[in-house]
C-alpha cells in the first residue's frame, strides 16, 4: 500500500482525496492544511496536521496548493524522500528541482468542492524528473483515471491555456448570459437544449463548421440592432469584439 500525503484543502485537494480513497493500492495517509481542524468536507481522514515539517512517513506527497505557494511549500519539504507532485497546469515542473524526486499530476477539469466528478474520465497530465519516478507516478495516475497523458511542462502550459479559453471564458459568457436572462425575466434553463447541442456539435463536426448566428451569416442588420439594445459598456465591448472575431474568421467585413 503506497501512502499518500495531500497538502491543501481547496477544490483540487477535495477531488484528489475522493479519488485516492477509491484506489485499492493507494492510501490517503495524511492531510495537511492551515486551519487548526480539517475543513468539514474532508471526512474520514486518518491524520490531519498543520505541521509541514513533521509529516508522517509517506511515499508520495501531492501539493494541491495555489500556484504561488508551490515553491515555498517545496522548500519546507527539502528533507523528504517521497515523490513530490504539484498539480498546476501552468507552473513548470522545475519549481520542485531542489528535491530528489518530483513531478506533476495535473487534472484537466474544472473542480468545485462538494461537487463530485468522475475522476476516472478526467485526463491526468503527468511529468516526472526521471524514469523511475515517472513509473511510480504513472501507476498512481492510472489508478485514478483511465486517461493519462504524459507531457512536458511547455505542452502542459499550452493545454492549460486552451482550457482557460474553452472553459473559463465560455463559462463567463454563460454567466453574462444568465445575468442578462435574470434582468430580462427569461429563465436561464430555456437555453439548456441549445447549449447541449452547441457542445455536441462542436465535438461531432468541429466548432468552426458548427458556427451559426448573425455574425456567421454576416447579418449586419441584426448585429446593429442587438448592439444598439445593449446598455452595459462591458457587455457591448464583449459583443463587438466577439462579433468582429467571428466576422473575421468567416471572411466578412468588420463592424
Amino acid at each position: 500500500m503506497h501512502k499518500i500525503t495531500l497538502i491543501g484543502t481547496g477544490n483540487i485537494a477535495w477531488h484528489m482525496a475522493r479519488g485516492i480513497t477509491a484506489c485499492a493500492d493507494f492510501e490517503l495517509a495524511e492531510l495537511v492544511g492551515r486551519t487548526k481542524e480539517p475543513p468539514p468536507e474532508f471526512n474520514e481522514i486518518p491524520s490531519y496536521t498543520t505541521q509541514l515539517e513533521r509529516l508522517r512517513a509517506t511515499n508520495i506527497i501531492i501539493l494541491a496548493v495555489a500556484d504561488g505557494a508551490i515553491a515555498s511549500v517545496a522548500k519546507l519539504l527539502k528533507n523528504t524522500e517521497a515523490l513530490v507532485l504539484h498539480t498546476s497546469g501552468s507552473m513548470p515542473m522545475s519549481l520542485l528541482d531542489q528535491l530528489p524526486s518530483y513531478g506533476v499530476l495535473y487534472p484537466l477539469q474544472t473542480f468545485t468542492k462538494g461537487r463530485p466528478v468522475d475522476l476516472k474520465k478526467v485526463p491526468l497530465c503527468i511529468e516526472a524528473n526521471n524514469a523511475d519516478n515517472l513509473k511510480k507516478l504513472s501507476s498512481l495516475a492510472l489508478a485514478l483515471s483511465q486517461d493519462v497523458q504524459q507531457m512536458d511542462s511547455k505542452k502542459r502550459a499550452d493545454v492549460h491555456f486552451s482550457a482557460v479559453l474553452a472553459n473559463n471564458f465560455s463559462n463567463h459568457l454563460l454567466a453574462l448570459t444568465a445575468e442578462y436572462c435574470e434582468t430580462h425575466d427569461i429563465p436561464f434553463e430555456l437555453l439548456k437544449s441549445l447549449l447541449r447541442e452547441t457542445l455536441n456539435k462542436a465535438f461531432d463536426i468541429g466548432p468552426l463548421q458548427a458556427q451559426t448566428g448573425p455574425a456567421r451569416r454576416g447579418d449586419f442588420n441584426t448585429i446593429k440592432k442587438q448592439l444598439a439594445a445593449i446598455d452595459d459598456d462591458q457587455l457591448q465591448q464583449t459583443y463587438t469584439l466577439l462579433t468582429n472575431s467571428i466576422l473575421k474568421t468567416y471572411g466578412k467585413e468588420k463592424l
Copy 2:
C-alpha cells in the same frame, strides 16, 4: 389533416421539414425554393416549386428564409388566406402585418442541415396576431415540440440575444481553442470531459458560482504569463477583454 407549405431550403427549413413529417395531424404539402430542383437533402417532398405566386392550397405557410427576405416574400403572399409564420428570433411579428393571418414560430436551437436534432426538446417561441391564429399555431407547435413558449416580439428578441451570447459566442471561443490546439499539437478531444462538466455545472449550480481559473482567483502571475505567450492580436484582445470581465465580476482589480 392540415397542409403546410414550407418556404426556404436552408438549415431551419431542413429541420422543420423533418419535424412536420413526423407529425400525425400535419402534412408537409409543398416546399418552395429558388433552385430549379429541390436540394438533395429534401427527400420525399410531395411537391416542389419556385413559383411563390402559384402555391397549392394550404393552411399554414412557414417562412424559413433569411431575416432580410421575410418582408419581400410576405409581399408576394398578400392574397393568401393561410396562416403565415416567420421563424426568426430577432425580427418582429409586425413584418407580416399586411396579411390577414400571421405569427411567429421561432425554434431556440442551433441548426445545421443534415445533422438531426430532437425537435421535441427544442423550445418553440410562438406569437400570433389574434386568439384564433394563436390557437392554430399552438396546436402545430405542440405537435412539433413538448416545450412551447408564448411570448411577444420584444421578449423573443431578448431570448435571441441571450442565445447569441451563450451559443454563438461560446462556440466561437471553442473554434479559437480548436485552432490553438491544432497549431500546438493538442487533440481538441482532450477538452471534452472538461467542457461537459462546464455545462453541467453551469446548469446545476449556476455559471457565476461555477467559475474557476486564473481570473476568478485573481492569479495575475498566470494571467501575465499566458498573455505574454499569445502571438495573435485578435486572441490577445479576446483574452484581455474576457479576463478583465471576469476580474470585474469577482471584484478584482483590472489588468
